[in-house]
């Protein structure tokens, strides 16, 4: 499973790795809602809560938010 995921990750990264200087008028795809870093706030919040409750590692994407006694 881990090796399989690494392979997927590597292929996806390399397929998108060409760096370009993108002008503002060339950002029509990037400006779509679904291209936001966090397109679904509640889905993100729920996932953070689930994994924070069950794992020792947490965070990395943002600061703040309320604590809980779940871990």
């Amino acid at each position: 499973m881990p090796k399989f995921l690494v392979l997927i990750a590597a292929s996806l990264v390399f397929s998108a790795c060409a760096f370009e200087k993108v002008e503002p008028w060339d950002r029509e795809y990037l400006a779509e809602d679904k291209m936001q870093l966090v397109p679904d706030t509640l889905e993100y919040a729920f996932d953070e809560h689930i994994y924070f409750s069950n794992e020792a590692a947490s965070g990395g994407q943002s600061v703040g938010g309320g604590g809980c006694g779940c871990n």
Partner: protein, 428 residues
């Protein structure tokens, strides 16, 4: 401890929108108000069940200024591993336990799948209400600030916090630098008070070889409440990589001080010759934790579909190391319908003071915890989401996920979880 939740809708969304040269209002289809409501059902196999309801009301004041109010209501019930050594369904020499916490507790020890006796589990029931307020405001053309306040209240746990971050756009908004800091003041106050770390919870009735570091006669010392301070810092860079790709790079540092022990977690003391549990102690963790992580995310547009891939490496001074990979692919079935498969894999090492039990032959360590969440483990997640757009008025979605947690060097059985989430987003 810190529950990472978004001060986000504004912080990260705004980071993206400003990066792309679009306004926040444009991202929300020019609506002034937005309401997101979502319900989550979380069920572990024969353990914990959580029902969660959260809503976010957002007000766009124009020109990037935005105000969010978020309300969360959780109900939790069931049983979770308490740290005592898992013995399966076989006979074991187990002690009877009565805690002062008021939590229901299985006390018969020993066998009995028939009677449902599982001394390694503690039953509990709790509710949680949380409120977050977030405010984003551009102060200059390329400089946006974000402020957040949060409060979370449970029967035995309270958390109050604040955070702020700044997004600085550079190079015609191709690059955004994010600087953030947050602080939380948490307190845990279980019914009966906080027990002395590694204090004796109970001894077996017959005590053949009780080590001299366990005093079976004196009651354990208890304190009124435990408090901790959580400080988090983050520096991030979001980059327009090409016409179809965004990349994000973050480094986060957190410093937590105070009472970091879980007052409900226990430790079995095993006599090797007797081969049974002769006493139960309360766990004890260090009072300082410094955690760090590096995080990378890529969002890639494929003309129609979009996928997002992220990786986080986490490490702390408790010797926990964790690798986490997350992948979501938004597959556009039609202009209004989409499916989104989700895969996640996480692997973590154990904390330095973690063990499944103490031996009566050991010396008493400074710190010890048998909390399975601090042990070596792998977590696998697979899920699918179905979403329907409601024109420019919003979206509804349904998500089903399965999660499996496999423990290494720990006899605990795997945990399997079903997650079902329904959500509605409305613009008005």
């Amino acid at each position: 401890m810190q529950l990472k939740k978004l001060p986000i809708r504004s912080a990260l969304t705004l980071a993206t929108c400003t990066l792309l040269g679009t306004g926040q209002s444009q991202a929300d289809d020019d609506s002034d108000w937005n309401m997101d409501i979502s319900s989550l059902y979380y069920a572990e196999n024969e353990r914990v069940t959580v029902n969660k309801l959260q809503s976010i009301l957002s007000r766009d004041n124009g020109e990037g200024e935005k105000l969010d109010f978020s309300l969360v209501y959780d109900t939790m019930s069931g049983a979770s591993p308490n740290g005592r050594l898992y013995t399966g369904d076989s006979n074991t020499n187990s002690v009877s336990v009565t805690t002062a916490s008021g939590f229901a507790f299985d006390v018969s020890g020993g066998t009995s799948a028939q009677s449902g006796s599982q001394p390694w589990l503690t039953e509990f029931k709790d509710t949680r209400v949380a409120l977050n307020v977030d405010w984003s405001k551009p102060v200059m053309r390329n400089f946006t600030t974000h402020w957040g306040l949060s409060a979370s209240v449970e029967n035995d746990y309270n958390s109050f916090g604040g955070n702020m971050s700044a997004n600085i756009d550079m190079f015609q908004k191709r690059t955004t630098l994010t600087l953030g800091a947050g602080m939380n003041l948490d307190s845990v106050d279980p019914n009966g008070g906080i027990p002395e770390g590694l204090g004796r919870l109970e001894c077996a009735d017959s005590t053949p070889n009780i080590p001299n570091w366990i005093d079976c006669d004196a009651p354990v010392t208890r304190y009124e409440a435990g408090e901790k301070i959580v400080n988090d810092y983050l520096i991030g860079l979001t980059q327009v990589w090409n016409r179809y790709t965004l990349m994000q790079f973050n480094y986060a540092y957190g410093n937590i001080t105070g009472y970091l022990t879980d007052p409900y977690k226990q430790v079995s003391v095993i006599d090797n010759t007797f081969d049974g549990e002769i006493a139960i102690l309360y766990e004890k963790r260090p009072d300082v934790r410094q955690r760090q992580s590096v995080f990378w995310k890529m969002v890639r547009h494929r003309i129609r579909d979009v996928y997002r891939l992220s990786y986080r490496y986490f490490w702390d001074n408790w010797a926990v190391r964790a690798h986490t990979v997350d992948f979501r692919y938004r597959w556009e079935l039609s202009p209004k319908h989409y499916l989104q498969p989700h895969l996640r894999y996480s692997r973590q090492t154990a904390a330095g003071f973690f063990g499944t039990h103490l031996s009566s032959d050991d010396e008493l360590p400074d710190y010890f915890s048998a909390d399975n969440r601090l042990g070596e483990q792998n977590t696998y997640t697979a899920g699918l989401k179905y979403g329907v757009k409601l024109g420019s008025n919003g979206e509804i979605g349904l998500r089903v996920e399965m999660l499996q947690q496999h423990y290494l060097n720990n006899p605990l059985p795997d945990m399997e979880v079903l997650v079902v989430q329904g959500s509605v987003s409305l613009n008005f």
